[in-house]
Structure formats: structure tokens, C-alpha cells
């Protein structure tokens, strides 16, 4: 049998058994007794085959550093018949905001999160921890030694991210350019300030 095809088949069977736990490139290489390069190549082949086959209901994804087999997106509606209840609203807006802040700024204390949001985030943090999306990651060496929070691998999986580097870059509002604008605007303000002051409320 063709060796590269055999490798693809073996990898598929490992991935099938591992299911949602997934397997990392390293684990797959060790289990198949191949190099990571060979495994990568075979996985690429598998993915291409899944995507091109019309009679294939599954495909390959990489979440949280691990490869896993998943059903194709196009069958999501059909899958819902298996589950009936659609798999739910994710979480409240507040929890999502807190999660975003923790994801980008980790490790981070609750107070820092509170400051960014302008509201207390304790409850949302509890929710996120109890859902397994965030975890305590030591304590800040500062007065009160506040708890530091970070995201978990489970967070990556459920949010379809392979690693934290996959987080979309924060939109910085073109800081560079804006800075000069800000300066000019400021200057203009000052010029106009006098005029305005007389008229408006006091």
C-alpha cells in the first residue's frame, strides 16, 4: 500500500478515537512513528480529501493546538436534528467583554478588568471560571496579592482558536495617524474654545 496514503489512514483513525480531545502534531508524529513534516503533509492531504469529497460529512480542524475531526459546517442544520435544542446562546455581553479583556491582557487582575469596563466584573469572572473558560494563574506581586486570570485551552477550543496568536488583532484606531490629527484637533479646539465659552451653558 502507498505509504503516504497509509499514513493518512492511520492519522484518521487516531483522530477518530481521540474525538473532541484532539491530538497535537507532536502526539500524532509519535503515535504514527513519523516525522512532524510527514504528518503535516499527510494531514494536508486528509484535509484536501475531506473538503473535496461530496460524500464526506467530516473534515479536519485545529483548535487549541490540537487537530480534531469535526462535522462539516454545511451540515450544521442537519446536525441540529440530532440535538434538537440548538447549542445555545453563548453567554451574556458582559461575560464576553470580560473574556475578551482577559484573553488579550492575560494574565490580568479583576481590578484591571473592572477599570477597563468601568463596572464591576466579579460576577462575569465567576461565570467564566465556572464555565472553564478562564482559570486562576497565580497572584500579582502587589499589595493584596490579587489573583491573576488567564484563559484555558478549553476556551481556545470552544472559540475555534488554535492559539492565543489567533486572536484577531485589536483595532487600534490607527493610532499613528490619529496622533497627529489629535494634535491638530486639539490646537483647533483651543482656538475655538474662547468663542464657544461665551455662548454655551454655564
Amino acid at each position: 500500500m502507498n505509504d503516504s496514503k497509509r499514513l493518512a489512514a492511520v492519522l484518521e483513525s487516531f483522530l477518530f478515537v481521540a474525538g473532541e480531545e484532539g491530538l497535537t502534531l507532536k502526539q500524532l508524529a509519535a503515535l504514527s512513528v513519523c516525522t512532524e513534516g510527514e504528518v503535516t503533509e499527510a494531514l494536508d492531504g486528509l484535509l484536501a480529501a475531506y473538503e473535496s469529497r461530496e460524500d464526506s460529512g467530516i473534515t479536519l480542524r485545529q483548535y487549541g493546538g490540537g487537530f480534531q475531526l469535526v462535522t462539516k459546517a454545511e451540515f450544521a442544520e442537519d446536525m441540529k436534528r440530532l440535538f434538537e435544542n440548538p447549542p445555545a446562546k453563548l453567554m451574556t455581553q458582559a461575560a464576553l467583554e470580560v473574556l475578551a479583556i482577559i484573553a488579550y491582557k492575560q494574565p490580568v487582575t479583576r481590578v484591571e478588568v473592572d477599570e477597563i469596563r468601568g463596572v464591576k466584573s466579579e460576577r462575569a469572572i465567576q461565570t467564566l471560571a465556572s464555565k472553564g473558560f478562564i482559570t486562576e494563574k497565580g497572584r500579582l506581586e502587589a499589595s493584596g496579592r490579587p489573583i491573576l486570570y488567564a484563559t484555558t485551552p478549553y476556551f481556545l477550543d470552544r472559540f475555534g482558536l488554535n492559539s492565543l496568536e489567533d486572536l484577531p488583532p485589536l483595532l487600534l484606531e490607527n493610532e499613528e495617524e490619529e496622533d497627529t490629527d489629535l494634535f491638530l484637533t486639539k490646537f483647533q479646539d483651543m482656538l475655538e474654545a474662547q468663542d464657544e465659552e461665551g455662548g454655551s451653558d454655564a
Binding site: 440535538f83 469596563r117 463596572v119 464591576k120 478549553y154 490619529e178
Partner: protein, 252 residues
């Protein structure tokens, strides 16, 4: 009771501020403090039903807004600020600067939250399977569950299970709905026995996997026995049960 009502779902004072900035089409780098402050406070009035602890957070920002507004009303530093060439320009700190920075930072994360949500939604259309039970293959799990694990791994594991169960739970329910009633099943069983020449091994009637179906089948057989449409016999202990059509049913 009215304490709990939220007029609009603002995630806090900064969220409200952002909302106003968008609605009033305010240039975030050139905030007209008087207008924004007025609007903000007006909004607080209509939101007076807020819970007290939330209200205090909104009030803190209101105070900040008023403070900035009043700072801006102070006469600008006299002297060299307005030199024509600007060489001597001494950048007076804009009292709004810190506020702008805070709003921008919050806005960043608010937008990131939207993206995260989208990302999670994209992920949610892909379904996975539980890992296969390795015990079926005779391996003995020896891993120490507490090795380098903390209580949050425990929680994660639990949530993972809940997620899985949540997906799976309706399966049996939806399948059960498709099950035939006892009456239908009785007809079906009679049909099977007839087709098999009047006799049928008990087990053959129980080949379907789900519990609901098995229960219906069992109830149907009991009902058929009660009606004496069928007779169930066993040759000896532990022998297979044999179901036969009752000959010359005694019904009536």
C-alpha cells in the same frame, strides 16, 4: 420590584458613553463635553431604575464628565499659547485626553468581544465526537488525574461533560417521539411472528438500541400475552424465550 429593570442593556457607564457618541455622531477625538455630559445625565435620569450599585458606577463617570467639562471652561493659559508660529507652544494637557483613552480602550475590547462571539459561532457549527472508550480496547487508565492539574481543570472537565450531555440529551427524546405507540408496535410484532411462520425468538424483537423502543416492545408483548394473542414458552431454565401465535385464541 422595579429595582431590577434595566431600560437598555448597557454594560456600564463607558458602554453608555460609547452609545451616545455613536448616536450623536460625535468625533471621539473632539468630544463636545457640554453636550455629551448633558446627554449622559439625561440618560441616567431615564435609567433611574438602575440598581444602586450599578448606579454608583454611572455616577462616578458622570462626575468625571462634569469635572472635565468645567476644566475646559476655565480660561486657557494666557501668554505664549497663541504665538503665531507655535514655537513656544506649550501643549496644555487636554482634560479630555484620559477619557478619550479610556473610551478607546473599552471600545477595542467591546469590538473584540463581538469578534470572539462570531468566532465561537463559527466553531459551533462543527460538531465533534466523544473520545472512544479505550477501556474497550483493554487498556488500563493509569494517568494520575491530579498531576499538574488544578481545580479549574476539574471545572473544565465538568463543563465539557455538560456541553456534551447538553448536545446529546435531546437525542433519545427526539427518537422516542418517533417510536410507535404500544398499539402500533403490537401490530408490528404480530406481523413479524406471522412472517416467521408463527414463532419468533423473544430476543429478535429487541434489536433496536434505544431504551424507549425497548420499553414499548416489552409493553406490547405483555399486552399481547394478556390478550392471549401470543404465548411465550421456555423449554428449560436459561433457554431462549419463544413467542408463538396463540392457537385458537380464547378471547371473548
Amino acid at each position: 420590584m422595579s429595582y431590577n429593570v434595566k431600560l437598555e442593556a448597557f454594560e456600564g457607564p463607558l458602554d453608555l458613553l460609547l452609545h451616545l457618541i455613536n448616536r450623536l455622531e460625535i468625533d471621539i477625538y473632539d468630544i463636545p463635553m457640554a453636550e455629551l455630559t448633558n446627554q449622559y445625565i439625561e440618560h441616567l435620569h431615564t435609567m433611574r431604575v438602575l440598581q444602586l450599585d450599578e448606579l454608583s458606577e454611572y455616577l462616578v463617570l458622570a462626575a468625571t464628565l462634569i469635572e472635565i467639562k468645567s476644566k475646559m471652561l476655565l480660561p486657557v493659559h494666557e501668554g505664549d499659547v497663541f504665538d503665531d508660529d507655535g514655537t513656544d507652544f506649550e501643549p496644555e494637557e487636554d482634560p479630555r485626553e484620559e477619557l478619550i483613552a479610556r473610551i478607546l480602550e473599552y471600545k477595542q475590547y467591546k469590538e473584540a468581544a463581538v469578534q470572539l462571539k462570531e468566532s465561537a459561532e463559527e466553531r459551533a457549527v462543527h460538531f465533534t465526537k466523544q473520545p472512544s472508550d479505550m477501556e474497550n480496547y483493554g487498556s488500563i487508565p493509569q494517568a494520575d488525574p491530579a498531576e499538574e492539574l488544578d481545580v479549574f481543570d476539574l471545572v473544565s472537565a465538568f463543563q465539557k461533560m455538560l456541553h456534551r450531555r447538553r448536545l446529546k440529551a435531546p437525542l433519545s427524546a427526539s427518537i422516542t417521539n418517533n417510536e410507535r405507540s404500544v398499539g402500533e408496535k403490537m401490530d408490528e410484532i404480530m406481523g413479524v411472528i406471522v412472517r416467521k411462520g408463527g414463532h419468533c425468538v423473544f430476543d429478535e424483537l429487541f434489536e433496536e438500541g434505544d431504551t424507549g423502543g425497548l420499553v414499548v416492545t416489552f409493553l406490547s408483548i405483555l399486552e399481547l400475552m394478556k390478550r392471549r394473542d401470543v404465548v411465550v414458552r421456555q423449554q428449560g431454565n436459561f433457554d431462549r424465550l419463544l413467542i408463538s401465535l396463540a392457537i385458537g385464541g380464547t378471547e371473548g
